[in-house]
């Protein structure tokens, strides 16, 4: 009861909407199970009339599922919360996303939302280096991974599963100092890119491999629980995705879907993200413990238009290097 009251107070400006938003909402997301559960629970605290369910999977698994359901004439998802904007750009180009130009985006910077109002970044998820605290070496740069002592010791997420991993590879390609040359050398280090970021975490924390390439929040969160891992922001910079949220054009419940998006972008939704251990998209919200101040995080330069143009050829090359 107290939690409901608190939520209502925090969301006073939105309270008018709360009366009208109801029905069922289905979310397809790449968030970890527990996070998706809590995100939806917080949303329902504000909009108790809405019932929710979700499907979790890697971005590379959710997308084909959506396409298969559309092809079968049985779309089930209302809202998508996936890792990267490249995926959203693809769906937007096929007119699969609902346009909401007047969405209330709260304090989220304009750079993180689609100017046409079809998808909105909800947080910043960076990809950096992971290290088991028992491991002998201390990698500080991406290029350190090319050393002979790292051979067979690096775990990485598969770009076919993780949207963040795909963007990471596309970002590396765009760095003059790294580029394809770096990836070709890295592929020779016996990297077994398999599964998503969660499996990289398990593999490195369980001592199967000493080091990894991973998104920030998993190790930072597990480190706080005492897990023998640490996250390293490499000197060259991290790659970043915005975990955008979008509404499918065929949604049967646009009211609840819009309320969900507005909720994620609101100060309350952003505070929830920070509580879950994510770097919020809204710079006014304090980052969770374990993160450096946002202005100290160096993000590698990334040109989304160039990535979109060359992604198909690049993915084929990634498949050849790291396995599809």
């Amino acid at each position: 009861m107290r939690r409901h009251l608190l939520a209502a107070l925090l969301l006073l400006p939105l309270a008018g909407h709360a009366q009208t938003v109801s029905g069922h909402l289905t979310l397809y997301t790449s968030q970890p199970e527990a996070d998706a559960t809590r995100t939806l629970a917080a949303f329902r605290d504000t909009y108790p009339e809405v019932t929710t369910e979700f499907v979790r999977g890697g971005t590379g698994q959710i997308l084909p599922r959506i396409r298969a359901e559309l092809a079968a004439g049985a779309p089930r998802a209302d809202v998508l919360l996936l890792a990267d904007s490249l995926t959203m750009e693809g769906l937007k180009a096929e007119n699969r996303l609902l346009r909401v130009p007047d969405m209330q985006t709260g304090g989220v910077p304009a750079a993180l939302v689609d100017p046409d109002g079809t998808y909105w970044g909800t947080k910043l998820i960076t990809t950096g280096l992971l290290r088991n605290t028992r491991a002998p070496l201390h990698p500080a740069r991406w290029s350190d991974l090319l050393g002979p002592e790292y051979r067979g010791q690096i775990a990485a997420p598969a770009h076919a599963v993780s949207g963040a991993a795909l963007i990471h590879l596309l970002t590396i390609v765009q760095q003059p100092a790294l580029g394809w040359l770096y990836l070709e050398k890295l592929a020779k280090q016996d990297i077994r890119a398999a599964g998503g970021n969660g499996q990289v975490m398990q593999s490195v924390a369980g001592g199967e491999r000493g080091y990894g390439v991973i998104i920030d929040y998993l190790p930072i969160r597990e480190h706080a629980k005492g897990a023998p891992v640490e996250f390293v922001f490499p000197e060259e910079g991290v790659s970043a995705v915005t975990e955008p949220v979008a509404i499918l054009a065929g949604t049967r419940n646009p009211g609840a879907a819009k309320a969900f998006v507005a909720f994620l972008l609101s100060a309350d939704g952003q505070r929830l993200a920070a509580r879950q251990g994510y770097l919020p998209a809204d710079p006014a919200i304090a980052p969770p413990p374990g993160f450096p101040p946002p202005q100290d995080i160096r993000v590698m330069r990334f040109d989304p238009a160039r990535a979109a143009a060359e992604s198909e050829a690049a993915i084929r090359r990634f498949n050849a290097l790291f396995g599809g």
Partner: protein, 571 residues
């Protein structure tokens, strides 16, 4: 008295009807319904699958040039064959050991069969945890493995080993089925000729058991090639996808032709499995008929029996007890890479965490509903299906009841999708992605499980009872409802429970058919593990095992009066 009145002045007709009633004590209607069932649930999905692939020459051409497909097919063949060989050695050794008089005979037999009853995905998760070098289990025991050496289970050898342990019970049970019919006189005769006990067994019993061992080996091959849970949990991180995993990847991955490709691959898988089935049939036919005689009595060879018994016990500890302990350790680890904290408080916290995951509640509800639905429907259909199966003339139709069970579940699932998409009036769209489609697929896949115990029980039923009922004026439906069903009720209940037991932990079919709201326990364990949420995956597995144990106890209890073999693991 209607029928006798008509028949009294036509003795020939009367004889025909009597003979018919001996074979079909409830008349033709249930059998015709069962035939329609077999065609709708068995033949339609499989034929639809074949039709999807037929004539698509350009697709077939493209796929023939896809090296990944041939690699996966080669892995499936080689992996399943290796697993079958190992399973045969293990299963035959265990079955032969039981020819000796030993203590804890039944317990050891159950211990050997249990790996077949633990869902493959849970077994694989448990083994992975037991092998993880710095996983919670090894840290708990204080014997962490070498750092940075990977998990030794991740590789073809790990898949083969685990598949062998999971399929060895099939060899064990088919062999034991023959042991039960081994005439006691045979061993006595051999011993009378001066052979020592063990030699008497080897010389007299082994030739008679060989066809059972061979048939078991073929069944182990079929089960191994159709396995998805183990192949995925170990094969994905090891980057060694077999055909079942490749089909799942193609169906859930990008690609405009995903469904057609999955259909072609399923047919390929079905053909590979069919070679195993043909071998099993051949082995059964080639077998020397076992002469009837006195019941076989285990042979006394105390030292050897003690050794065999100890080995079987150690085997059970190695393949079952240690991995399950590792699963508990994984569930109780506070974070990845930390030793478990097993206290009352952490247990309570774990229970709360499970309770708070809506996915878990959803999965328990879905899996229990699916198990109940499939169990009840198939139990209700079991008597007609068993009557149909017993009819020699209906063999081509009855085959379709057995085939979905024998072929890999992947084949059933892809067939179910194709059938659902062709249903009229939007029924397909309504079914697609819902629990309903999974239920329909289960009805196809598990029909034989419900039919088999009932068929065994019907074979023992004296047809004169139905005759007597007919003489008292009971029509076909009354004979079904008042005579046959009450008399075979234990078998019907045991069959239904077997179905429920298989359905509640099923993954192969539901991994391809689930959507939001229709996830099953198997899918949730698989998904949590894939997402790297190992602690939760292990916890849900423990919950799942508790449900399985309950159903197992129920099936054993219901099957206690049935002929041996009706409930597969009861020896």
């Amino acid at each position: 008295m209607r029928h006798t009145a008509g028949a009294s002045h036509r003795p020939y007709d009367h004889a025909v009807r009597l003979a018919e009633r001996q074979r079909l004590p409830e008349g033709w209607t249930p059998v015709l319904l069962a035939g329609a069932w077999a065609l709708a649930f068995g033949a339609w999905p499989l034929l639809r699958l074949a039709a999807e692939a037929a004539g698509r020459w350009s697709l077939l051409w493209d796929m023939a040039g896809d090296a990944a497909i041939w690699r996966a097919a080669g892995r499936s063949l080689a992996g399943a064959a290796a697993a079958a060989v190992l399973a045969t050695l293990l299963g035959a050794a265990a079955a032969l050991s039981l020819l000796l008089r030993m203590r804890f005979r039944r317990l050891l037999a159950l211990l050997f069969v249990l790996p077949m009853l633990v869902p493959p995905q849970i077994m694989a998760l448990a083994w992975i945890q037991a092998a993880a070098p710095s996983g919670p289990f090894r840290l708990w025991l204080g014997v962490p493995g070498p750092f940075g050496q990977g998990n030794w289970l991740y590789g073809p050898h790990g898949i083969v080993l685990l598949l062998a342990v999971q399929t060895a019970p099939l060899v064990f049970l088919t062999t034991l089925g023959l042991v039960r019919r081994l005439p006691g006189e045979l061993i006595e005769a051999a011993r009378g000729l001066g052979a020592r006990p063990v030699r008497a067994l080897a010389a007299a019993a082994l030739p008679l058991l060989a066809p059972g061992i061979m048939a078991g080996a073929a069944l182990a091959f079929v089960a191994a090639i159709g396995n998805f849970g183990t192949a995925a949990l170990i094969g994905l991180p090891a980057r060694w996808p077999m055909l079942t995993v490749l089909i799942w990847q193609r169906l859930t991955g990008p690609g405009s032709n995903a469904l057609a490709e999955a259909a072609v691959l399923s047919l390929l898988l079905a053909m590979l499995a069919a070679t195993g089935l043909a071998l099993a049939a051949l082995a059964r036919r080639r077998g020397t008929p076992v002469p009837a005689g006195r019941a076989f009595a285990p042979v006394g060879a105390p030292r050897l029996a003690a050794l065999a018994g100890t080995l079987m016990g150690l085997y059970g500890i190695a393949v079952l007890a240690l991995p399950l302990a590792a699963l508990v350790a994984a569930a109780f680890a506070p974070a990845a890479g930390l030793p478990p904290v097993v206290t009352f408080r952490t247990a309570a916290a774990l229970a709360t965490a499970l309770w708070q995951q809506p996915a878990v509640g959803e999965a328990v509800r879905n899996s229990l509903l699916l198990a109940l639905g499939a169990g009840v429907v198939l139990a209700a259909a079991a008597v007609p299906l068993a009557r149909l199966s017993a009819l020699p003339a209906a063999r081509p139709v009855a085959l379709w009841i057995a085939l979905p069970q024998a072929l890999p579940g992947t084949v059933t699932a892809v067939g179910a999708i194709l059938v659902a998409l062709m249903l009229p009036f939007g029924a397909g769209a309504a079914l697609y992605g819902g629990t309903g489609l999974i239920l329909l697929a289960y009805l196809s896949r598990f029909a034989l499980l419900a039919t088999r115990p009932v068929a065994a029980s019907l074979a023992l039923l004296d047809p004169r009872i139905a005759d007597a009922a007919a003489g008292l004026g009971a029509g076909p439906w009354a004979r079904l409802g008042r005579v046959t069903i009450p008399l075979t009720l234990p078998a019907i209940a045991a069959g239904g429970t077997l179905v429920a037991l298989s359905a509640v932990n099923e993954l192969t079919v539901s991994a391809l058919l689930y959507a939001a709201g229709s996830r099953t326990l198997g899918v949730v364990v698989f998904g949590l593990n894939e997402g790297g949420e190992t602690q939760l995956a292990a916890a849900v597995s423990l919950l799942s095992l508790a449900i399985t144990a309950g159903l197992l106890a129920a099936a054993t209890w219901l099957g206690r009066r049935l002929p041996p073999g009706a409930v597969p693991w009861r020896v």
